[in-house]
Amino acid sequence: MIPEIGHFSLWLALGMALVLGAVPLVGAQTGRADFMALARPLSYLLFFFVALAFACLVASFVGHDFSVRYVATNSNTALPLQYRIAGVWGGHEGSLLLWVQMLVLWTVAVALFSRHLPKEVTARILAVMGMVAVGFLLFMLLTSNPFDRLFPAPFEGRDLNPLLQDPGMVIHPPMLYMGYVGFSVAFAFAIAALIGGTLDATWARWTRPWTTVAWMFLTIGIALGSAWAYYELGWGGWWFWDPVENASLMPWLLGTALIHSLAVTEKRNSFKSWTVLLAILAFSFSLLGTFLVRSGVLSSVHAFATDPLRGQFILAFLAVVVGGSFSLYAWRAPQVGIGKRFGLWSKESALLGNNVLLVVAALAVMLGTLYPLVLDALGMGKISVGPPYFDAVFMPLMAPTVFLMGIGPLARWRNAELPALALRLRWAAAVAIAGAILTGALAGEIRLVATLGLVMAYWIVGSVATDLWGRVHPQGVDWAQAPARLRQIPRALAGMMLAHLGIAVFCIGVVMVKAYEVESDVKMSVGDSTTVRGYTFIFDGIKELKGPNYVAAQGQMRVTRDGQTIADLHPEKRIYRVQQNPMTEAAIDSGLTRDLYVSLGEQVEGGAWIVRVYVKPFIDWIWFGCLFMALGGLLAVSDRRYRRAAGAEQ
């Protein structure tokens, strides 16, 4: 019964979405207030029916309803509750439902927080969101129904992929989708503005908070995915330039560019058509990502089980949405004016330079990801493009971007006086170079690439510090005023500083772990020890244990430093009862300045085990950095300016 309710609910949702996609839009074009007024209630109804369907699927999982094919392929009676719930989005159909759930969540949010917008604008935005929902609901109902039944119902399910039975699995996809899907709001704002001809600085101010929040979630989602891969996959990698990872990185890069571009448009009412194009592109790349992951055109560990029909549907949807947007853009954008004046060398141009670099970075990732496909389609053979390519191309692109990051915030609007700017930044430059060399020396060995990376990171820190210094203790102002001046810094600015610091922290993490990571591959019998970077790892043997749905050989490792035991690590080799694949669970001792990472290999003759021991310096800074970026976004969005504006225009 429940699956049928869920299925029916999806059809009702489709109905709501169809009406939402059409009626308010017509209302906005013809000035009919009653049509436009339907947008909000329709949004709430749409949300209700999707949420009901989602709840039905969750209930089917929790209740072990194996007559539902999707539940049978992704769950099992022995699966613990939290993974039964997470299993809802463990496969293609369910993750699509999660996608739509996020979409309608954002739609409701826009409906709730758009009181300050003119009713035509609100109507158009919600209509666009409705149209996107139509596409995905149709896709689900026609090709990927999560409520398909299985006759006869099996007694036991196939089980969720063991790799996904992990806390990270519970939270990573929802966060990621909140971000991906969240760019649909900026997209909807852009389309609404193009249709209505209301592309201006006000539009940019409205769009900014929505973009920032979506960006925040995407940052967290990507960071979680990376952290999860790190502790789950057993060999310590945290980014593989896998097509699916790239599919989430491209919208992130474009979203970052969009945030900065919106700042220019809001300030100077200029580069509007460029900003609106970015808003369309960010969501378009989200859709492209959806296609790449679910169509089977690229080979990836993350890819969902595929079906040519599904691929065709998403491609058609992509063509309609993006093609329609680009057509609208080509028609309307030329009419948009160039706004207010600003100088060749200014904060505005620094922001636009950042844009160019970020967009090129996204395009470079796309080039690498799709090149094998293009060559193959042209019959020119098959190649692979992997981490060596992306590392070689992406890092050099980031260097000038980071350089600009140090300059932009300190540049003046309209006209940056370059000599004065250079003078202000001389300390940052000096600190950057000195700090990088010093760090290398402290780490034991100065390495060229590491030093360059650290210079970049410290450059940002120096720039933020210089900026902060200039606001808190400017020329001729007493120190006593400093605390008050600190509090006066607008949250938007504080958010920017925090986010930029996040990038610096991220860079430090990446550089330090890449340059100074130490690995030790040893054969250990009970009582054997190995010492890496001052940490002694002692093998105390193996314990056999039983988990809820697996059996495991658990290593007992003690870690000491200067004679003191600082950690007990338990790496495991697990065999899951149902899927019978051996899985390695690494044991990690996380610390502020290093991770100790132990992974069990095979057992060899004589009862010894192959053990991989790593000391990874500063690796957690990678994810701290992402956290700071996200917090920076949160801080920026909470700026009084948005709250005040929302209240004033009510």
């Binding site: 080979s299 491609l315 057509s327 496909l373 389609a377």
Partner: protein, 176 residues
């Protein structure tokens, strides 16, 4: 003319859509062989049924032949095997088997159970000859001409269509 640049995104999209559409019909994991048109690699392996005897590349010169890579642990091989057995009966082209990374006893039993289409099978216990042939999955089938040049490689199980549409015409051409 100013408006042309606003059409650029659309243009790029159309190109992209073309390739993505083409991609739906391709298999991203299939590895085409660089050995087509090149001489088969040198090999010398013991026969599966009589390990004291060896077969090498030189022995095969002067005839057109097929090499089918198989193993007793390979599930997909069972799919193509009946086809191969039947084809061997009606075709004059010798089919040799490369028993890839398999135990001799298991291989012999598999042939006894499911039929033996091979003129002879040779044992590649450690897979080195397989690597030389660019084998990455089983089953795979090669067509090799009189001069020892590889002319065709089938990745995955043989199907009646492949045999009828591709292999038979090729064999006719090579034998003429």
């Amino acid at each position: 003319m100013k408006h042309v640049r606003y059409l650029v995104p659309m243009g790029i999209l159309l190109v992209l859509l073309y390739f993505l559409r083409a991609g739906l019909n391709l298999n991203p994991k299939e590895v085409p062989s660089p050995l087509i048109g090149k001489p088969a690699p040198e090999f010398s392996l013991p026969r599966l049924d009589q390990p004291e005897q060896r077969i090498s590349r030189a022995d095969m010169r002067g005839q057109v032949w097929m090499l089918n890579v198989w193993a007793s642990w390979c599930v997909a091989c069972r799919q193509e095997h009946p086809l191969l057995v039947q084809y061997a009966k009606q075709s004059k082209v010798p089919i040799y088997g490369l028993n890839y990374k398999d135990e001799r006893a298991a291989g012999m039993k598999w042939l006894a159970d499911f039929g033996n289409p091979y003129t002879a099978s040779i044992s590649d216990r450690d897979g080195r000859v397989g690597i030389d042939f660019g084998v990455y999955g089983v089953p795979e089938t090669f067509v090799i001409d009189r001069d020892g040049v590889i002319r065709y490689k089938q990745i995955g199980p043989l199907t009646p269509e492949v045999i009828h549409d591709t292999i038979e015409p090729l064999l006719k051409q090579l034998n003429s």
